[in-house]
């Protein structure tokens, strides 16, 4: 630790600890995957089968193609549409708001108040806003629509986006924006052609967290959607009943849900760490 030379004993100990932790962390994922590849009966066996005796893709076929479960493709598309829209809108509106709050064209009191408001909203427990929001949406006939959920998700993502992007914008050299102004850019052009392209890392971080949030969110989705706009997390939860647990199908769907996340984040690891640690650590 602390970059000092270690004795061999320490090194071995660290290797052992790392291995143990990795196993603890990965095992549940492993279990998720192999359960999805087992026949349900094999899941009820004790001692548990750590290596599936009979591998099957039946679960995947069942949920993808059989009509009983509803149209999985439709739900997958719902999740996709909602997630992508959320990312796009929260990035766009969030960085616009952050840009406005990072300049000094508006009074500093106003800006501080806005920022405080935005951060306070981050603290609200979702359930407190979910129920009245549902009632409001039903008045506007927006229940079970993509829009209703997107508005909620975007609003949830805005505080984080704004907070992160303000930091980014403030670290941009002001002379570049001055040069753009003199070159003839108006406010919007400066924002789109100069500031945004130079802030891509920040946008990447926000996009990833936006993705993680929207793709996996359950509570609001379960309240605000029923059939039309149902997302994958709601579908999975729908499998739970007191009578029979469809381990195979549930885990298969779980795996299908997790694959895009893993792919997406493997490209974006450093951004994830940046997002987690932003504000906590002075660089």
């Amino acid at each position: 630790m602390f970059g000092l030379t270690k004795s061999t004993v320490e090194k071995v100990l660290l290797y052992i600890i790392c291995t143990i932790v990795i196993i603890v962390v990965v095992f549940p994922l492993y279990w998720l995957i192999i359960t999805s590849l087992k026949y349900d009966i094999d899941s009820y066996v004790y001692p548990p089968q750590f290596f599936p005796v009979n591998i099957t893709f039946k679960n995947y076929i069942d949920i993808l193609f059989l009509a009983q479960e509803g149209n999985l493709v439709k739900y997958f598309l719902n999740s996709l549409i909602i997630t992508i829209s959320t990312i796009f809108l929260s990035l766009l509106f969030g960085s616009m708001a952050a840009y406005s709050l990072s300049k000094h064209y508006l009074s500093i009191m106003f800006r501080r108040m806005m920022l405080a408001l935005v951060l306070v909203i981050r603290i609200f427990p979702p359930i407190t806003t979910a129920i009245p929001y549902y009632i409001i949406l039903s008045k506007f006939r927006l229940v079970d629509t993509h829009i209703g959920l997107i508005i909620s998700y975007v609003s949830f993502s805005l505080p984080f986006t704004i907070w992160l992007m303000i930091g980014f914008f403030q670290s941009l050299p002001t002379e570049i924006e001055k040069a753009a102004t003199i070159d003839g850019c108006n406010f919007w052009q400066r924002f789109i052609k100069i500031v945004i392209p130079l802030s891509l890392p920040g946008l990447a971080v926000t996009a990833i967290f936006g993705f993680l949030y929207s793709w996996n969110e359950f509570m609001l989705a379960s309240i605000l959607t029923s059939e039309n706009a149902k997302t994958l997390p709601v579908v999975i939860a729908g499998f739970i009943s007191d009578k029979y647990l469809f381990w195979g199908k549930m885990t298969a769907l779980g795996v299908l849900m997790t694959i895009p996340v893993i792919i997406f984040s493997s490209f974006a690891q450093r951004s994830i760490v940046k997002g987690l640690t932003f504000g906590a650590v002075k660089e």
């Binding site: 932790v21 406005s100 981050r122 427990p125 129920i131 906590a280």
Partner: protein, 292 residues
């Protein structure tokens, strides 16, 4: 011409403002108003009846609510405590800069990737009394198979373990970044001064980590108090009300029993408690900031 910029600055704030007003301000105002009424949407054609602050007062007599409050807080405190300790330990391990720590960091992400609903289902399987893997492993320690999720005493600890498992990366990464930002000269100077490793850790590393720790606590407190997804799929609040977290309680109040007025009052009560706690922590940060 600066007024032109002022105009644009306001325009840029509008979309976000509108979203937040529609999705947060409007609902909260509605909820606030409703909290003073008695309104059950179950009865068709029912109208809200003004009842003053009786909804709020009834909270203090409402055993179910108080039970949920208790469960949520115990959960939060215990979970965060362990996450902190283990997370700190892991952060130190990650700072060791061995070849394996690179791989280690990659794997540490995994729990965060899996949707909480899926995590709930997964661990429900692992904890199963008859065929769960957990019981299988503890049998090696000579412990007989336990009923986890069906036991009023063991269900909550079981959920805490799951939460710790899923949220380990957060604390670990934040603290690891904090450790990385400590200039190594400080450690070297301390070594030269004759400090042992433990003392370096206690007197240098920890104090300098305080800002990172506080921010991590801030985030984790909000998130643990929100607990919903995992319990919904894992225990549904059971057995009985052993794991009926506050979010779940309010959810049922409002969306299963459609007792809107009470749910609204309980929501606001919950919100104020959370705000007070967070403001306390935020002040800690600000005070730290000015002290520098």
């Amino acid at each position: 011409m600066l007024t032109g910029y002022r105009k644009w600055s306001i325009i840029f704030l509008l979309p976000s403002g509108l979203f937040l007003i529609f999705a947060y301000v409007y609902p909260m105002v509605y909820s606030f108003i409703m909290s003073f009424f008695s309104y059950s949407m179950l009865i068709p054609g029912a109208k809200p009846v003004f009842t003053g602050i009786s909804n709020y007062l009834s909270i203090f007599n409402n055993l179910a609510f108080l039970n949920s409050l208790r469960i949520t807080f115990i959960f939060s405190i215990v979970a965060i405590f362990f996450q902190f300790i283990i997370g700190l330990f892991l952060a130190l391990v990650m700072s060791a800069n061995l070849r394996i720590t690179g791989v280690f960091r990659v794997f540490m992400f995994i729990p965060l990737m899996i949707a909480p609903v899926v995590v709930g289902i997964l661990w429900r399987n692992l904890y199963h009394a008859s065929y769960g893997v957990i019981n299988f492993f503890i049998s090696f320690l000579g412990i007989p198979p336990q009923i986890w999720l069906g036991s009023a005493t063991k269900a909550l600890p079981a959920v805490i373990v799951v939460e710790i498992w899923q949220q380990l990366p957060v604390f670990a990464f934040i603290l690891a970044a904090g450790i990385a930002s400590i200039p190594t000269e400080l450690n070297k100077a301390a070594l030269v001064d004759g400090c042992g490793r433990m003392r370096i850790f206690w007197h240098i590393t920890l104090p300098l980590l305080k800002p990172a720790i506080i921010v991590a606590f801030l985030l984790r407190i909000i998130d643990t108090l929100r607990m919903f997804d995992i319990v919904y799929t894992m225990t549904q609040g059971g057995p009985g009300t052993a794991t009926k977290f506050l979010s779940l309680h309010i959810y049922e109040k409002g969306l299963r029993f459609f007792d809107i007025g009470t749910a609204a009052a309980q929501s606001w009560f919950f919100l104020i408690i959370v705000l007070l706690i967070e403001i306390y922590f935020i002040r800690l940060i600000l005070r730290r900031g000015t002290a520098r």
